[in-house]
Symmetry: C2
Subunit: 150 residues, 2 copies
DNA sequence: AAGGAGAAGTTCGCGGCACGAACCAAAGTA
DNA sequence: TACTTTGGTTCGTGCCGCGAACTTCTCCTT
């Protein structure tokens, strides 16, 4: 409604801009963005596959593969909750926790670089608005609007 | 400097949020995001592989593959400029132009949905700030800071 | 208790994506 | 005429994610 014809494009540019810096930072920790997001979601608490799939917007095979690869690197591990033996709990290894914390700190420190050329007031404003857009989803990536439950 | 510890995370969420909606819109036009971005870059003017690689942040093999797949779908075509016969110009087919224009219109129309829950004033503010962050790069994705020239 | 419906994950096969290394051909240069 | 540089391609590899099919377990109904 209130947006000009170029706003959509601007949003894409913004997303790409953020993503590229994010890729750099992840690569510095030898992580892909998918693995990084998984790690950040489980670094402070174990979670089930379904929950992770929902949070990451992935279907079941995608989750399985991602956990496979991340587990193979020793960052994460599968466990079985006793109350439901078909389910699967993903938790962090000590190494994963260490790397995840370091990554999170680095993201907090270096990702905001992309707004460096704005005035401090504008930076604060942008930060606040970005928080409103993402709906205050603090931990992990925002939930998708389309639950990919299959 | 002015950002709290969660700002980096908020930016990641914002990027993911935008990207997911973008993926949806692209899929509605039967495009991947990579192909969509390529199409948008060449839909109004032909460009060389190097230039595209620079704009998209891709190395040479990545560009070759992307153009291969997009060409195979008949959306884009390779041409040879007469002044340099080893180079290669990527231009749009009629079909590609049509789809590219439709996609662009759809992105302009539907991507701003993600800020719908903000007040009109905040939406305008966010739009303006987002434009400032992306540095007014109007056409195509923003240039990366690290030229992946190899 | 039996038996079927549904949920949680896995596996398989596929395709898109993107990299490094090696390569080829054309252009420029000594 | 050689040598170097530049623009792209090919090859092999790995990550990513989907749909379809399958197994196992839980739960609900009868």
């Amino acid at each position: 409604m209130t947006e000009g014809p170029g706003f959509g494009n601007t949003l894409v540019c913004l997303s790409v801009l953020i993503h590229r810096r994010y890729v750099q930072i992840c690569a510095d920790h030898d992580l892909t963005t998918a693995q990084a997001q998984l790690l950040c979601l489980v670094k402070d608490q174990p979670r089930g596959m379904s929950e992770l799939g929902h949070l990451l917007g992935l279907a079941k095979p995608g989750m399985s593969g991602l956990v496979d690869r991340t587990e193979r690197r020793g960052l994460v591990q599968r466990g079985t909750p006793e109350h439901d033996r078909r389910a699967c709990t993903i938790s962090c290894t000590a190494l994963g926790k260490e790397i995840g914390d370091a990554l999170y700190a680095d993201v907090s420190a270096r990702l905001p670089d992309i707004v460096d050329h704005l005035s401090p007031a504008d930076q604060r404003l942008f930060q606040e608005l970005a928080g409103m857009v993402t709906g205050g989803t603090v931990s992990g990536p925002c939930r998708g609007d389309d639950p990919p439950e299959q």
